[in-house]
Structure formats: C-alpha cells, structure tokens
Amino acid sequence: MSAVTAFLRERRITIAAYALCAVLFAIATIHSSGFASASNVRQLLVFASFVGFAALGQTLVVLAGGLDLSVPWLMAFGGIQLSSWAASGTSGVLGIVLVVLVGAAIGLLNGFGVAWLRVPPIVMTLAVGGLVEAYLMTIGQLKSSGNQVPQVAVDIATKRAGPIPVVALVWLGFAIAASILLSRTALGRRIYATGASEVVATLSGVNVRLVRLLTYVLSGAAAAFAGIVLSGYVGSTYLDIGAPYLFTSIAAVIIGGASILGGRGTYWGTVAGALTLTVLSAMLPLFNLSSADLEIVYGIVILLGVALSRFGAGALQLTRRSGAQDHNPDMEVGDAA
C-alpha cells in the first residue's frame, strides 16, 4: 500500500465529510448560481466560523471521552461580560483577553468536576452552564442599556483581509493549531488515548485527569471567544445568543466523523461538519424549505453521517485485521456502540 492510499484510507471519514459538503454546495450552485458568488461564500465562511469556534473545544472534549453542554452559556458569557466590562471602561483588547481567561477558568471548573470529583460530564457541564446563566441574568438586570460590543470584537467579526473575512483566517489559524496539537504533540496523543480507553491510558502513564481537565479549559476559552466574535457580528448581546450552538457544536463534531465516545475524530472533520451545517441552512430557503424543515434535514444528516462513518470505520477495522478472526465481529460492534 502506497503512502498516499494509506493517507487517504486513514482519513476517509474526514474526506467523506468534505465530499458531502461539496456535493451540497454544488447542488445549491446548480440550482441558483448566486450561491457560489464571492459575497455569499464569504457569508457562509463567517457563519461557519462561529460554529467552528464553538465546536473547537467540543471536539477536544469529545475526543477525550467527555461532553460540554455549557458551550452556549459560555458563548453568552463571552459577549455579555465583554460589553459589560467595556461599559465600565476596560479596553476592548484587554477585555477580550480577560473574558477568554475567565472562560478558561469556568472550563477549569467543569474539568475539575468531571476529572477529580468524577461527576458525569453531562451533569457537571449542565450545572455549571446553569450557574453561568444565573450569573448573566444578574448582569442583565444591573444594566438595562449599554450592551455595546467593543469595536475590536466588531472588527474581528466583520473586517476583511483582501477578499477573505478576518474571522475565517482566524478560524483557519485555530484549525491548523488544533490539528498540530492533536497529531504532533504529546498532549494530542494523550487526548486520543484517554478517549479510547481510560484504563489503557492510565496504565501507559497518561495523567488522564489532567488531560480531561485541559480539554475542558480549552473548551471554555474557545466558547467564550466564539461568543465574543458572534456578538461582534450581531452588534449586540443577549442571553440566548449561544442557544443554537449547543446543537450545532455537537452536530458538527458528529458529522465530522468523531465518535461521541471519544478516541476517534479530527478537528478537520469538525470543520467539514461546521461547513456542512452552514451550507445546509443557507441552501434550504432556495428550495422553499422552512426552518422547520431544516431541523428535519439536520437530524437526517446526523443519522446518515453517523451510519456512514461507522460503516467506513468498520470497513477500516476489517481490512486492518483481515485474517485475524479470533474476535466475534458482533461483539466488536457492541464494544464500539
């Protein structure tokens, strides 16, 4: 097997996710040529980047075998806290740095609860999200007006560098950083090992707790940043601004081919997932489909995506251990499911 086919084989799920996205984009373009116009593509990239930022931390958390339900509240926190501090005179850049750091600290709380106190991730991140929501409600009541988003955040979200939106370049930077982190560093290998099998990872000397903790810290920071950029784009902040991203951040990870149980997936896959979700939501109005229909299509894409990626992964496993048939294949599926 040549290096190229091996490369493609290893990444066939990610490639399939991009192929799905490309097919959808082609269908939309054939139907209405304006879909491929520069301005529309820019728009798509901007919307997809919001999903991409929110799903960045989610990917890391899921790869290590966890789940972060606090993402939407951390996004709301990012925008609301930033404008609240800006109203009391903090400069925009300093504000962004501080908000991202506090987001990381909230992620630390999630990680501590999951890794040290052994609270199930769903419960821990749900409770922390609720506490963040309550805190944001107190800010909202203190000041009725003045949810002015600092200009820096608006610039990041709306400015362009040549033909490309700044926010898309930032996203590309994050994606490269994430893929280096995951595939070239010790921490990346440990994240996969932790997600694949906590017991095996522990036995091979991985500090599983610390790895888990770090994924939640990064998720908190990424979600806060996502909220900052999103509120910069919208131009104002409100409590429910992150609500749609609970679903899309998880859906992007799943469509990107990651296993929700951890240990398998890439951030490039999630990028494809974010692009697919965004293209879908932009193209459905062209076919006279409502937002209600979009929800149905989202669900079908998730279920089909999982079915296909599992089919692909199963085929991959079979080719790898062709000949060694000491396992009952049925049991194998059971272990994976």
Binding site: L67, L69, G113, L117, R118, V119, P120, I122, V123, M124, L126, A127, V128, G129, G130, L131, E133, A134, Y135, M137, T138, Q141, E198, V199, F247, I250, A251, I254, S259, I260, L261, S290, S291, A292, D293, L294, E295, I296, V297, Y298, G299, I300, I302, L303, V306, A307, V333, G334, A337
Partner: protein, 331 residues
C-alpha cells in the same frame, strides 16, 4: 467502565434482598423534597389545600412525565434527548389535529399517544437494532421531531379540545385530576418495577452481557423502554396543551436537560441499573417547589436558575464523594 459497573452491582444486590427497602438515595431525595415543600407551605399557608396542591401539580406534571420517560431510558444506560421533540410533536398534534372535533376526541388523543410511542420506538430501533449511540441517535431524532412539530403548528396557538382542558383543571370526587394522574403514574411504575419486565430493565442496565447470558432479550427490553419513554413524553405534551390551553411547538427544549437534572438529583445512576421513576418524581417536584418558593418571596428569576443548578451540583458531588468513601471503607 466495566470496573465501575461491577462496583455498581454490589450495593444493588443488597438492596434487592429486602422486600421493603429504604435506600439511602431515596431518603436524601425525600428529605430534599420535604424540606422544600415545608418551606413553601410555611411561606404560603394557603397552599395547604387539595385544590391548590392540584394547581401546583398541573405545573409539575409535564416535567414529572418527561422525567419519568428519561428515567426509563437512563435505567438501561441510555439517554433520550428526543423527549423534548416527542413532547412538542404530541403537543402540536393535540392543538391542531384534535381541534374542536366532536365526539372523537378521546380516540384522536389515543392515536397521538400511539404516534408518540412509535416515535419512541424509532429511537429504540436506532439504539437497540442499528446500535447507534443513544446520545447521537436521539440528538438526530430530537431535531427531526421538533421540525415535524413546527410543520404541524408553526407558531404558538391552535385549539386543544375543551374536554382536555377541563380535564386538566378539573377534579374527580374532589381530588384534582393532576394529582390522580401523578398517583396513577406512580402505581403503574410500581407494577412495572415488580414485574419480570421491570427486573429485566434493571438487569440490562446493570450488566448487558450478563443479562444476555441469562436469556434476556436486550433488544426487546430496549425497544419497550424507548417506546414507553416516547409514550410518557407524548403524554407530557398532551397534558401541556391542556394546562396552557394552547399548542406551544417550541416548548420542548428546556425539558430535555431539566429532565436529565431531575433524574440525577433523584438519584438514578446515569451508568444504568439503579434508581427509579419514584426518585425522579420527587426530584421534579423539588425543582417545582424551588421555583414556587422563589416566586413566593419575590426573588428574581436568576435565583431560581442558580438554586436549581446549585442543587444539582451539590447533590451530585455529595453523592459521588460519599459513594467513594463507602467504597473505600469496604475495601
């Protein structure tokens, strides 16, 4: 995973020996509920009246029913994010399809409940037969059911049948119907729990492999559990249509995670095999009492949100730490 499952089996075996067992978990949940109820009754003495309690139960019933649905699924080590979707599906259908039709109300509502059970069965097929991860399968069906509900009823409105509305607000022999539904649910759960099927549900949740070796049909049990969860979520949607006298196709989402919170506060283990609907009912009522207390003393909404999340966090952390301590002393 298998190590924690083995640990979880030990205390449960002990619990099954005694016919009348009072678990430590049940005791803490009951204490939380009683304390909150007493505080609420002290703050609002007027509540100590069967009709007032009935009104409180009307508010509580949708969460109790969705919580019961979630409990069944969690008992077999699953999770159901689609309960919110099935709930609004039944809710929208009740508000639109039944409408002000003549005598066929009841039949139509039974059909809607059948549809809800079929929606749950679809989850069961995806999880048990196609072997999707429960979280992923129900994430997909959640948004599909939400979309169908919005197609049936695009915005709040519609007209639930008057007989349903009068039933939800009514009384039978002086007892509020909402309270009766609650008691019937509890009795049905007791009956299920005592049956062979009930034993199998716990067996599948505790250790699927061992249950399979003992001749339990894992697929059969899971199909039943997910279909029953769909039915209960549908019932919640129908009841909500009665309580609000309207259809609310976007009302389901908040119930999804709150139902998980109620399950966990109640003491049902997300690892499956231990807990029950009774515990979740107590926890759901406790959450309702919290928001009732907060509004009684005119505190802001955020206090209620913080109190619910805080309760979830404290209860879970306390239980985890105490369980670990017990485990350590045993070994």
């Amino acid at each position: 995973m298998s190590a924690s499952a083995a640990q979880a089996v030990a205390p449960r075996r002990g619990a099954l020996v005694g016919r009348v067992k009072i678990s430590w978990t049940g005791l803490t949940t009951a204490t939380i509920l009683i304390v909150l109820a007493v505080v609420d009754f002290i703050l609002q003495p007027a509540l100590l009246n069967l009709l007032q309690i009935g009104i409180l139960m009307q508010t509580a019933l949708p969460l109790v029913l969705v919580g019961a649905a979630q409990t069944l699924v969690v008992l077999v080590r699953g999770i159901d994010l689609s309960v919110g979707g099935i709930m609004v599906l039944a809710n929208a259908a009740t508000a639109v399809w039944v409408g002000e039709r003549g005598g066929a109300h009841q039949l139509m509502i039974f059909l809607i409940l059948g549809l809800a059970a079929a929606a749950g069965l679809l989850n069961g097929i995806l999880v048990a037969v196609a072997r999707f991860e429960p979280f992923v399968a129900t994430l997909g069906t959640w948004t599909i059911f939400n979309g169908i509900a919005l197609n049936i009823l695009p915005t709040d409105g519609g007209t639930p049948p008057p007989s349903l509305i009068s039933f939800t607000f009514g009384t039978t022999a002086g007892i509020p119907n909402s309270l009766i539904v609650l008691v019937v649910l509890l009795l049905a759960w007791r009956a299920l729990r005592g049956s062979r099927l009930g034993t199998r549900i716990y067996a599948v949740g505790a250790d699927e492999e061992r249950a399979r070796l003992n001749g339990t049909s894992i697929v059969g049990v899971k199909l039943f559990v997910y279909a029953a969860a769909g039915l209960l979520a549908g019932l919640a949607g129908v009841f909500l249509a009665g309580v609000t006298s309207s259809g609310t196709p976007t009302a389901g989402d908040p119930y999804i995670l709150t139902s998980v919170a109620a399950v966990v506060i109640g003491g049902t283990s997300l690892a499956g095999g231990s807990g029950g609907i009774g515990l979740t009912m107590m926890a759901a009522l406790a959450l309702i009492f919290i928001s009732d207390i907060i509004s009684a003393i005119n505190l802001e909404t955020w206090v209620s949100v913080a109190a619910s999340s805080g309760l979830l966090l404290i209860v879970v952390v306390a239980r985890t730490l105490i369980d670990r301590e017990i485990q350590r002393r045993r070994t």
